[in-house]
């Protein structure tokens, strides 16, 4: 960050010393037009947030935290998003547990072990392409691979929700997020200076020892912040879950004597963005403010995670530059 500012300043100095203090109206016009486009994004964001919060206020004013702690209900005045929040957290837990280790491991292999040959370049290109695939295609994959083949085929689920469980949904999201995780980790590893590796290898460390004791510690902050941002994105995804089996309903309940395994495998679940979608589709006017209120909760949770990641990134960038 500091290095960038220095260079900009140099170019700025060059520009100012040549142009002098002459005011160019056309330049000001162009600058203003460009600034306008940037500020428009700010305006759009502010409008979006203001409109949503305004629509959501009646719900919080009349019901307060009850909205967050109640269960889904077909009655707008008692519907709450607790199940959705819990489902989203469980799904996020899955994504962290699956996508994080696999993503970091794959990136470590591609950056540290694999030689730069056609196979490696092919794998890298493949990962970049996967990152650009629409999320609903991952939903189709999840439906086919995790619900049908894994749950119904391998585990033989056929009663009740028949395989449309949190595990299938979590795996679908993990697969969605995996390519991005690999890419961010790869970039973090690439940012580690090569001299560090060379020095470690020179004193006799093996490749793995170098990675574990020298490369990873330097790269971990960037890896973690990138991962947190990716996971936050998974939190807001709903298209894949539509196909992979989240409950799109005004009411569902989980058995009170369900064990942990039951909750993971045989009980219905939903996620917060799915509930937002479902509320938004409802005809009753009361559901409009419910939708807005759920969006507010969703955005608050997302912004918290994003802010934490950005703060951590700033802190570590200052440390390691």
């Amino acid at each position: 960050m500091t290095a960038d500012t220095d260079v900009v300043t140099t170019t700025e100095l060059v520009r100012q010393s040549i142009e002098g203090r002459r005011f160019s109206p056309f330049n000001a016009l162009v600058a203003f037009a460009l600034l306008f486009t940037l500020l428009s994004s700010v305006v759009i964001l502010v409008t979006l947030l203001a409109d949503t919060i305004a629509a959501a206020l009646p719900v919080f004013a009349t019901r307060g935290l009850d909205f967050v702690t109640a269960s889904l209900s077909p009655r707008a005045d008692s519907a709450g998003i607790w199940q959705a929040i819990m489902g989203s957290l469980a799904l996020t837990g899955f994504v962290i547990a699956v996508a994080f280790p696999f993503g970091v491991a794959a990136a470590v292999y591609l950056e540290e072990y694999a030689s730069d040959n056609r196979v490696t370049r092919f794998i890298n290109a493949n990962i970049r392409n996967l990152a650009g695939v629409p999320s609903i295609v991952y939903g189709i994959l999840g439906l086919f691979l995790f619900v049908e083949i894994l749950m119904r085929g391998v585990f033989g689920a056929s009663e009740g929700i028949a395989g449309r469980n949190v595990v299938a949904g979590g795996l679908t999201l993990a697969v969605l997020v995996l390519p991005i995780m690999i890419i961010t980790t790869s970039e973090a590893l690439r940012a580690v200076p090569g001299g560090l590796r060379e020095a470690s290898l020179a004193v006799g460390a093996t490749r793995w020892e170098t990675i574990r004791h020298h490369v990873l510690p330097v790269a971990i902050p960037a890896i973690l912040t990138g991962s947190v941002l990716t996971i936050a994105r998974a939190f807001g995804e709903s298209a894949p879950l539509l196909l992979a089996g989240a409950q799109l309903s005004l009411f569902f309940s989980v058995s009170s004597d369900a064990s942990f395994a039951d909750l993971m495998l045989t009980q219905p679940y939903t996620a917060l963005p799915i509930v937002v979608f479902n509320f938004a589709r409802q005809p009753q006017a009361e559901f409009v403010s419910l939708t807005a209120a759920s969006i507010v909760v969703l955005l608050v949770m997302l912004l918290t995670v994003n802010a934490a990641a950005v703060l951590a990134r700033d802190r570590y960038e200052r440390r390691y530059r």
């Binding site: 702690t69 109640a70 799109l248 309940s253 058995s255």
Partner: protein, 364 residues
């Protein structure tokens, strides 16, 4: 610093999973307190339906298992309310109620994936065959009545009543491309429609899409016979060029925004928006133009009255005490109170008796 972050992340994962494990359905206890709050604010909630402790036969906290309901989004509000109340007294049962549409609900039902299928029309011949082929036996239970209300804008003074032939001329398969009401005059004259000719105003149609039972019912009542007579089999569809929506709120909006609009929704949604919509009377061919009201619908005098059903899978009832208990509760007085709560028309007493008899018969 790095280890602290790793520890925090690990803690987050553990918290997330533990929280999910402990409380995916945390609202279970909340239903009672929320129901209490409901009595003070909402004038139309019938709180007894939230506290069914005394009326469930053989029920109570010992029931376990799961109940999966899918089908009509029209019936979904009723079944969801019943499910919510049932769950309050039987927390051991996992209940799930979804509303993808009557047709899609039957597809799942006849594949054995659901226990109960909500339907806003009777099961069709193909669906019966599919169910038979899959070895699924079921019972049809008539639980409520709904009226399809044909709507136009409050500002539309010119049209007040339409018969089935009028509706066919305006909305049927041969009407594709009619941009004005008057474009249908020729067709209407052919059919001797009672309310033709129509004014020369833009015909803006907002109506349910084809995945909904509301659409199916409309086609069955209004379009099917006439289209079969004129065009032969396989043409029982409406015109395709209208603003289709699965969201009745969108339909209501579409109707209110245009002074000469046309569409149809279920009676409940019309009732909820009575102040901004004009319901057209429908000519029932006998007593003339009938206005949709709770009475005319319940008595089926209003020609576009449709029965709402639940179809229960009876293939394995002996091993499914929770399913039996659920349907028992559904058909009890407290359960059926959800019908009115959701805005539909209650069955008259003898029809309720007939439904209960059908259920008892299927159980034995």
């Amino acid at each position: 610093m790095k280890s602290r972050i790793v520890r925090l992340l690990g803690l987050a994962v553990v918290l997330a999973l533990v929280a999910a494990a402990c409380d995916i359905d945390g609202g279970g206890d909340m239903t009672t307190t929320v129901a209490g709050a409901g009595t003070t604010s909402a004038p139309d909630t019938t709180e007894p339906s939230a506290e069914p402790t005394t009326s469930i036969e053989g029920g109570g906290v010992d029931l376990s298992g799961s109940i999966v309901v899918s089908g009509s989004s029209t019936v979904e509000p009723i079944t969801a309310r019943v499910g919510e109340a049932f769950d309050g007294a039987n927390p051991g049962v996992a209940t799930s109620v979804e509303g993808p549409g009557t047709g899609d609900g039957f597809a799942r039902f006849c594949a054995g994936e659901t226990d109960i299928s909500d339907a806003s029309r009777p099961i069709s011949e193909e669906e019966i065959a599919t169910c038979e082929g899959a070895g699924i036996s079921y019972v049809e239970l008539h639980i409520a009545t709904d009226g399809l209300t044909v709507l136009t804008s409050l500002e539309n003074e010119a049209v007040s009543c339409l018969g089935f032939t009028d509706l066919y001329a305006l909305l049927g398969p041969e009407s594709e491309g009619f941009a004005n009401w008057s474009d249908a005059n020729e067709l209407a004259a052919e059919l001797s429609a009672p309310n033709a000719p129509y004014p020369e105003e833009p015909l803006v149609i907002t109506a349910p899409g084809e995945e909904s039972g509301t659409y199916d019912t409309f086609v069955e009542f209004v379009i099917a016979d006439i289209s079969e007579e004129r065009l032969g089999e396989g043409n029982d569809f409406t015109r395709a060029d209208y603003n289709a929506s699965a969201n009745d709120n969108v339909i209501v909006q579409g109707i209110t925004e245009n002074p000469t609009s046309l569409g149809w929704v279920g009676f409940a949604f019309y009732e909820a928006n009575q102040d901004v919509l004009k319901a057209l009377e429908v000519d029932n061919g006998e007593s003339g133009c009938v206005t949709p009201t709770a009475e005319t619908i319940a008595s089926f005098e209003y020609p576009l009255s449709r029965p709402l059903f639940i179809y229960v899978n009876t293939s394995d009832l002996a091993n499914r005490p929770e399913l039996t208990a659920f349907v028992d509760y559904y058909l009890s007085d407290e359960g059926l109170a959800a019908v009115a709560d959701a805005g539909y028309v209650q069955l008259p007493a003898e029809d309720i008796g007939a439904t209960r008899a059908a259920w008892t018969g299927a159980m034995g």
